[in-house]
């Protein structure tokens, strides 16, 4: 069973590129364009990994991250924070909230694919 990656991002073109990359790497891709939708999608079908943009409409990435981490059912879910904000304080805040990795835009496509693969481990 292929593992799923949930891309939470409001910028259409970035969603496009990420879903292309994840599909190419062999993951199933789910897409949410805001924080609320992301939580709803997790409830209906939890993903193995969430690529989470921070600047989101309605509910921002930090909140979504906190929500996921507060639910024991989702303890194994991996989270990569994705942000255009390069400040160290933002990065620390993301990691404190329980993110597994913190990737700054613009990211290297190879790098992000590698990160996702590392976090999820070799395919079962």
């Amino acid at each position: 069973m292929s593992r799923t990656v949930l891309v939470v991002e409001d910028e259409a073109n970035i969603v496009d590129s990420l879903s292309f990359l994840m599909k190419q790497a062999g993951f199933e891709v789910l897409i949410a364009r805001d924080g609320d939708t992301a939580i709803r999608m997790m409830q209906s079908r939890p993903a193995d990994l969430v690529i989470l943009d921070i600047m989101l409409p309605r509910r921002d990435g930090y909140e979504v991250c906190r929500e996921i981490r507060s639910n024991p059912d989702w303890a194994s879910v991996r989270i990569i924070m994705l942000t255009a904000r390069g400040r160290e304080s933002d990065r620390r805040k993301g990691l404190q909230l329980g993110a597994d990795a913190y990737v700054t835009k613009p990211f290297s496509t190879r790098d992000i694919v590698t990160r996702v693969q590392e976090l999820l481990g070799p395919a079962p």
């Binding site: 409001d10 590129s17 942000t83």
Partner: protein
């Protein structure tokens, strides 16, 4: 022959000199007794008798002369002092108390001291006193010389030749002046401290007062009881002689000038330098005044009893008027061959004259030395003066020189004026001069508000008036000035006639002069005081003088000394001015009374320094003494004036600190403002940080897409053409977005910094709208959006940069396109006028803008966070830029609800040229 010998000129001279030597002997004895501490003058009788120096040869000879022409008119001159003594004893007492406390040596010293130790005032008073007393001294010289010249004619009763025809050196008056100068020097300047009592002089004066009284009474008794059979017989004889009886019955003489004369003499008894000397300076015990206030008036009463009888007797005796009535006291006994009585009368007159001259000369010389010469010398070269080993010699020479000068001045006046005027007229001129001191003196004792400026003004005006209305006319009448000056006024100006100034006519010349001089004096004094501001020294002196009773315990306590001077220095200083022996004696006396051993002490305490200053003040005046002591104390002295100065400065400091308080309040406010500004800067810093962070975010977003797809394209050569095409299109679009974003950030930065280049012209908004529509047409391509334009046919022109105006419209359209309904998008543009301004609105049928966001939506990067899925992202700067532009054009931009649903972004701009509404004809033409 024997008879003749008695009244030969040599014998008269010998008797006169013998009498003067007797006076000197009494003075010498008096001084010796005083030195031995057994004063012979320390009783009220001597004190009252010394006051009788008031009665001069004016009284002795002049009163009779006056009575012979004016009846009772001689009397007011004695009523005035009587009134002063009886009614104003309290004033005299206060005067004495003040002068004792401040060691005042003369009337000049008094006035100068009262008005802040003003050297200028002291000098002025001295000058006025010298000029004013000069006629008075001349009067004495005239009296003595005439009486001498009359007496030597014995047994003939012949009036002497006019003195001015005689060479000066042969002039009796000149010799009299010289002899009197010598005696005045002997009496008055044997030692230096003028405030130390001249006990010997006082004793001599008291003695001469007795002599002149007895001499006058002797003549009176002889006339009444020798020539006639008592008063009744005398006046009965007078009544039988019409010319004589007219004196007592005619209303011509009148009493019109009495008030003036009484007032004048009331002032004179206080203000005459010699009266000040005997009454105030020479007073040894304040309590003596109690008896003197009735003893002295009693003396005046007694000496006046026989004035009228002698005058009547003289008139009856010399009915033809060939004998000057001023000489009756002498000539009546002469005519009766009473040579002994005549000689006694002469001695009485000489006595009266000498007493006056000696006391006046001493008083004036003290003033000239202390208040005129010393201040000038000290000012010019006081260091040089202070360095001199012994100045006491210089001081003595100065005083002696002053005495000689005063007498020579008197002689000169006598020579120029004296011949043509009666004794009493001369005397009254002097009274009028010294009366000028009264306002400043009496005012200064009771009115604290009186100032130095007021005193100077009053004195100058009063003295000027005296000079003009009294002295100058006298010179004119003596032929030294053209008489026309008196009769027609200077330059023929009637209003300025000295005897009828400003048209004031119908008064006798003396009353007239008194009226003007005292009016000017008091007016100047009061107004000058009211409008001037006293200095600290004046205020403190005013308080010390006016409130003398409450400061009674603080005699000499007007100094506070900080630090001290060495005793050696003080002793040296004292020795310089009063001589080593006197200095040693004074200090020893001080040490005895204060139980000090000066030999063991090095530093003098404050009390001793004050004592030395007071001693010095007696020798050289208060102002000069202060300077000298301060020089010895090497600046460590704090006198009351310094204290006041410090207080003054303190009040300035208080004022200053008050201002400082205000300043610090201002500073506080400024600090507040600075704090607020700092807060604002911090906010701005945070905002800048946020801005950079946001810009970074906004730049990274398109960059992310570009990089991702570029790498995907690069890593996946096997992509389908369509996919490749799609990805490349995204890259291009995102690149465009990035470019636009960068341009807008730069634009905004420029606008906010005020560095934008604006090309402001008169712009037809219609053109801008059309261009904006053309520029946004691509946005609509492939979208189901209905765009409509409703514009007035005649839009007003605006003053704007056309490209920027277009940019605003483009932004608003792009915004509307972005947010309008996804399925049935409607965007409408309205253009026209609103309240006289150009109006443009862009309406959409999207979700609208929540009330809360309507302000911040125009801030940078504050795009509404509503999901915009599937729509091209804006830069988040469009509205911010639009607002900057509209506001730069003087307009306003806002968002409101569009009718129905959606948002309406509107702006208005001021109109540069109003719409020229075309005439209907023209419209129809265009319609054609």
């Amino acid at each position: 022959m024997a008879r003749l010998a008695v009244l030969a000129s040599w014998s008269i001279l010998a008797v006169s000199l013998a009498y003067l030597c007797l006076l000197f002997a009494i003075a010498y004895y008096g001084d010796k007794r005083a030195d031995a501490g057994r004063s012979i003058i320390a009783n009220p009788y001597i004190y009252a008798l010394s006051m009788a120096v008031y009665c001069t040869s004016w009284t002795f000879y002049g009163s009779v002369g006056r009575a012979a022409s004016g009846g009772m008119d001689f009397l007011p001159i004695y009523l005035g002092p009587t009134l002063t003594f009886v009614l104003w004893g309290f004033l005299l007492r206060k005067l004495i108390r003040i002068c004792k406390a401040h060691r005042i040596t003369s009337i000049a010293d008094f006035i100068s001291s009262r008005y802040g130790k003003s050297a200028l005032l002291g000098g002025m008073v001295t000058l006025i006193a010298v000029l004013g007393i000069t006629p008075y001294i001349a009067l004495q010289l005239k009296a003595v010389s005439i009486s001498f010249n009359v007496l030597v004619q014995y047994p003939d009763v012949v009036m002497p030749p006019i003195s001015s025809k005689v060479p000066v050196l042969k002039d009796t008056a000149f010799l009299v002046a010289l002899i009197m100068a010598v005696f005045a020097i002997l009496f008055g300047t044997r030692n230096i401290d003028a405030s130390e009592h001249h006990e010997g002089m006082v004793a001599a004066i008291a003695f001469e007062s007795i002599v002149k009284l007895i001499a006058f009474l002797a003549v009176g008794v002889y006339v009444v009881f020798g020539l006639y059979d008592g008063f009744g017989d005398l006046f009965a004889a007078a009544a039988r002689t019409p010319r004589v009886s007219a004196l007592f019955t005619s209303s011509d003489t009148g009493y019109g000038s009495w008030p003036t004369l009484i007032l004048l003499s009331m002032a004179a008894i206080i203000c005459l330098p010699r009266q000040f000397q005997v009454t105030v300076v020479e007073n040894v015990n304040e309590d003596h005044l109690k008896k003197a206030v009735w003893l002295f008036p009693l003396y005046l009463l007694i000496i006046n009893i026989f004035v009228l009888p002698i005058a009547v007797g003289g008139l009856l005796h010399f009915p033809d008027g060939a004998v000057d009535a001023d000489t009756f006291v002498l000539t009546v006994p002469m005519a009766e061959r009473m040579e002994g009585l005549a000689l006694f009368a002469f001695i009485g007159g000489l006595s009266a004259a000498t007493g006056m001259v000696i006391v006046a000369a001493i008083a004036l010389s003290t003033m000239i030395c202390n208040d005129l010469v010393m201040p000038v010398l000290l000012r010019l070269n006081w260091r040089g003066l202070a360095e001199r080993g012994d100045v006491s010699g210089l001081l003595l020479s100065l005083r002696r020189g002053s005495i000689v000068m005063v007498l020579l001045l008197g002689y000169a006046y006598f020579r120029f004026i004296g011949e043509s005027v009666s004794l009493v007229t001369i005397g009254l001129v002097s009274f009028a001069a010294v009366a000028q001191f009264a306002p400043a003196m009496i005012g200064g004792m009771y009115w604290k508000g009186a100032t130095r400026g007021g005193a100077i003004l009053g004195l100058s005006l009063g003295f000027a008036m005296w000079l003009y209305t009294l002295l100058l006319p006298l010179f004119a009448r003596s032929g030294w000035l053209p008489l026309g000056f008196v009769e027609a006024g200077p330059f023929g100006i009637e209003l300025l006639r000295p005897y009828a100034l400003f048209g004031l006519d119908g008064m006798d010349s003396l009353s007239h002069a008194m009226f003007w001089s005292l009016a000017a004096n008091i007016g100047g004094y009061v107004l000058g005081s009211l409008f001037g501001r006293p200095g600290a020294m004046e205020r403190i002196q005013a308080a010390l003088f006016v409130d003398i009773s409450s400061h009674a315990g603080a005699f000499g306590g007007t100094s506070f000394w900080r630090g001290s001077a060495t005793i050696t220095d003080l002793k040296t200083l004292l020795a310089r001015f009063i001589g080593a022996r006197e200095a040693g004696r004074a200090l020893d006396g001080y040490a005895r009374t204060h139980d000090l051993n000066l030999g063991r002490l090095r530093e003098a305490d404050a009390a001793l320094v004050s004592f030395v200053e007071r001693l010095l003040a007696g020798a050289i005046g208060a102002a000069s003494a202060r300077v000298m002591v301060a020089s010895v104390a090497k600046g460590e002295v704090v006198g009351i004036e310094e204290v006041m100065k410090i207080l003054d400065e303190t009040s300035q400091v208080i004022e200053y600190s008050h201002r400082l308080e205000q300043k610090s309040q201002e500073l506080e406010n400024t600090t507040q403002e600075l704090r607020a500004a700092n807060e604002r800067l911090k906010e701005l810093d945070v905002m800048k940080d946020d801005f950079i962070s946001t810009v970074s975010h906004e730049l990274r977003t398109p960059l992310t897409s570009i990089r991702s797809f570029s790498e995907i394209l690069s890593d996946n050569p096997a992509l389908s053409i369509a996919e490749r095409e799609r990805f490349l299109t995204i890259i291009v679009k995102e690149t465009e977005r990035l470019t636009r974003l960068i341009n807008e950030i730069l634009d905004l930065a420029k606008m906010e910094a005020g560095r934008m280049d604006w090309h402001m012209t008169d712009t037809d908004p219609r053109v801008a709208i059309d261009e904006a529509l053309a520029a946004t047409s691509s946005l609509l391509a492939g979208r189901r959006i209905a765009l409509t334009l409703e514009a007035d046919p005649w839009l007003p022109h605006v003053h704007a940069d056309r490209d920027r105006l277009m940019q605003v419209i483009v932004n608003l359209i792009a915004n509307a396109v972005k947010f309008c309904h996804g399925e049935h998008g409607e965007v409408s543009i309205l253009a026209g006028q609103l309240d006289g301004r150009f109006y443009l609105g862009v309406l959409d049928n999207g979700p609208g803008v929540p009330l809360n966001d309507r302000q911040i939506i125009f801030e940078k990067f504050q795009e509404s966070r509503e999901p915009t899925a599937g729509r091209p992202r804006g830069t988040g700067l469009g509205l911010a830029i639009s607002r900057q532009i509209v506001e730069h054009f003087g307009g306003r931009i806002w968002v409101e609800d569009a009718p129905g649903r959606g948002a309406a972004f509107c702006f208005t701009l001021p109109v540069s040229r109003p719409v020229a509404v075309p005439a209907p004809g023209k419209e129809s033409q265009e319609a054609l």
